[in-house]
Subunit: 404 residues, 2 copies
């Protein structure tokens, strides 16, 4: 058998996540300083607590958690999540999934026919873009300013697409400490977008892995919460919350909250794709929340990360040419750099690798044909202070040489 | 938003697993004896060993297993699986997934365009049929005898479909202790099918959750092994092995072995759908194998289940009317009953529920429009001896009354 001849059409043409390829391309460089990945620091994993909880849960509840679980997710975890969120939420408005990408896949699978439009931010998270691409969606990106998607651009894009008889299925948004752009939506912009989407019947998919990683300033209500409090009753927002950045990505636990009928269909997809998420991990997260460990843990993570963000901001300030600009986020795990228009970060990536420093070129975060090339993403949670110092200096030296 | 208006076409029409609905329909009947589900007995879960392993793995390898893992699966688990299987297998010929259904989904997703044909057994596993259905495949079923799919019927079906210009993408087979039919393929039939499929360029998807649950007799080589030993070199078979029935379904760990290019595409789908399986569970299974715990554990499970199978066979023999026939498997978790032609097991299901006994009507295990109604599936691994005794007697009384 020569399998490629039998591959389905989409399997033949779909893309891989270029991030993995980029990271792989620098894998064998010794002493490489990498700001490329989106990995949390292992120092933030509550290893001891989780080790004990895994032991307890399997020992005491083994006949339950080692058995098949519900396709909609563990009801005990749902109960804890409802308490944690402090919403008036019903269990049937929630589905637990194998990480956030899994929830995004089911959401999009529920709504997208080939050729349907997904509105997304420019830039947006590459991992999600390749998932949308594999569902044959037409991703249309909209530029952002420091407060989020620009309203006029959104309005124009929707008008243009509708004139072209395109079927706009939803708007994909990352509300806080945006990956890769580092910005957070202002409260006002959140309201404007929800108002616009209600008026134009465009559902919002809110992908929220980072909002609890706030090191400074006051938390903002999520789109989901704003929609429920200021625009109630509306089911326009579906929010996805992940435990990957606040407990550990290896657990593969996230959940989606939204309209009951939509959630029911997401569950129906889950039944066909994985049957159920990992039941042991679900229960461990439930017990972690039930024992009230989350608040102190989140405080620890934020205190741990804060100096790394500060260090990177300080080093950029110290070394970067004045024509380079960057976001100053109050949390999350990424910074976004904007270089002078004529500098191509794809080329810079190759040169930087030779100088033993790595990042993700910004062009990778746009739908195909809609790229911007003078941007790049830096992660600050997976390096030591020394690596941040040395890596940012190397990058600045390269840029200074180019801009001389 | 009224979401159903926006659902994608397939989401609007796809079916749910009727088993869940049937099981749900009898949920509130007190003292119901259920032979309906496909659950392993919790008594077979190695709770103590797994509790310790989870603790050890998270404590000692937390910074690794709580981090993002590889989309193709944990390399340490792959190494253990290769030793366990004792194949000459390369890691890139293997992908680890969130249970077997997940591997089946990726395999079919790689090959199926809407309308493509999947050949399957009549009867076949309902959970898989709804997954194929959600991919808009055209499932065509082929009758079986005690040794597996009937060769003449397979030949005729393939000829007919090809005359109709249908695109046959693969043959889906459950080799041992078939769900629901209880049969195992004879060695000769395995060879005949592989020969036929090579000659006709039809890949084989071998779904193998049960072969290690053998209580009597000698194990048979899987299709995958036969293909590699007797027909080498051929990449025609992809085998999926699950830990759900031999360790615990809650762990959600299975793996697929097959052609390198096909596996690579399955990994690419996994990257888009879940990113990676649960990394903690993967490592726990790896350590379970590495410590050599599996052999003794499998021996324990088989010794545990054997008397339950025997009990059900004995009770059927004692009470059933002579016009009822059933499979006598040497392992697995199901029996398959064939009733006289005029008895409809869908109707019997409702009457039986009123008599506090439950099963799955056989009609649920055929593609739509290809049903047989005088069959039913009994599970023997989730009831006590007393329940088996009482439940089979109730069922026999009902049938005796009907056949008077």
């Amino acid at each position: 058998m020569h399998y490629p001849d039998s591959f389905s059409q989409i399997t033949q043409v779909m893309k891989s996540s270029l991030i993995r390829e980029l990271v792989a391309s620098t894998k064998n460089i010794p002493d490489l300083i990498s700001f490329a990945g989106g990995f949390p620091s292992p120092a933030t994993f509550p290893v001891q607590q989780l080790a004990e909880l895994f032991n307890e849960v399997v020992k005491n509840e083994g006949s339950d958690v080692l058995q098949y679980g519900a396709s909609e997710g563990d009801i005990l975890l749902k109960e804890q999540l409802m308490k944690w969120e402090a919403y008036e939420l019903k269990p049937e408005e929630m589905v637990i999934t194998v990480g956030a990408t899994n929830a995004i896949y089911y959401y999009a699978r529920c709504l997208i026919n080939p050729g349907d439009v997904i509105l997304c931010e420019a830039p947006s998270f590459l991992g999600t873009l390749v998932t949308f691409d594999a569902l044959e969606a037409d991703c249309q990106s909209i530029p952002m300013d420091d407060e989020g998607i620009i309203m006029d651009a959104l309005d124009l894009k929707v008008k243009t697409l509708r004139q072209q008889k395109k079927n706009i299925k939803f708007l994909y948004i990352i509300p806080d400490f945006h990956n890769p752009a580092g910005i957070s939506y202002s409260l006002n912009r959140r309201k404007e977008i929800i108002r616009f989407c209600i008026d134009n019947s465009i559902p919002i998919l809110e992908d929220n892995p980072y909002s609890r990683l706030r090191f400074y300033g006051e938390p903002l209500p999520t789109f989901y919460r704003v929609a429920r409090t200021d625009f109630a009753p509306t089911n326009i927002v579906t929010e996805i919350v992940s435990f990957s950045k606040i407990l550990g990505p290896g657990l593969r636990i996230a959940y989606a909250k939204g309209d009951k009928e939509l959630i029911e269909k997401m569950v129906s997809w889950q039944q066909k794709v994985t049957i159920t998420p990992d039941c042991v991990a679900e229960r461990v997260v439930a017990r972690f929340l039930e024992k009230g460990l989350m608040d102190a843990h989140l405080k620890n993570i934020c205190e741990y990360y804060r100096p790394y963000l500060q260090k990177m901001l300080d080093e950029l300030e110290k070394h970067m040419p004045s024509s380079v600009h960057w976001t100053k986020p109050e949390g999350g795990i990424f910074l976004w750099l904007t270089l002078p228009e004529h500098i191509n970060a794809d080329e810079l990536f190759i040169e930087a690798s030779q100088h033993k420093v790595s990042f993700i070129p910004g062009s990778k975060f746009y739908p195909e044909g809609q790229e911007k090339f003078n941007t790049l993403r830096l992660n600050f949670t997976y390096s030591t202070f020394e690596q941040i110092e040395k890596g940012v200096r190397s990058l600045a030296e390269l840029l200074n040489a180019k801009l001389k």
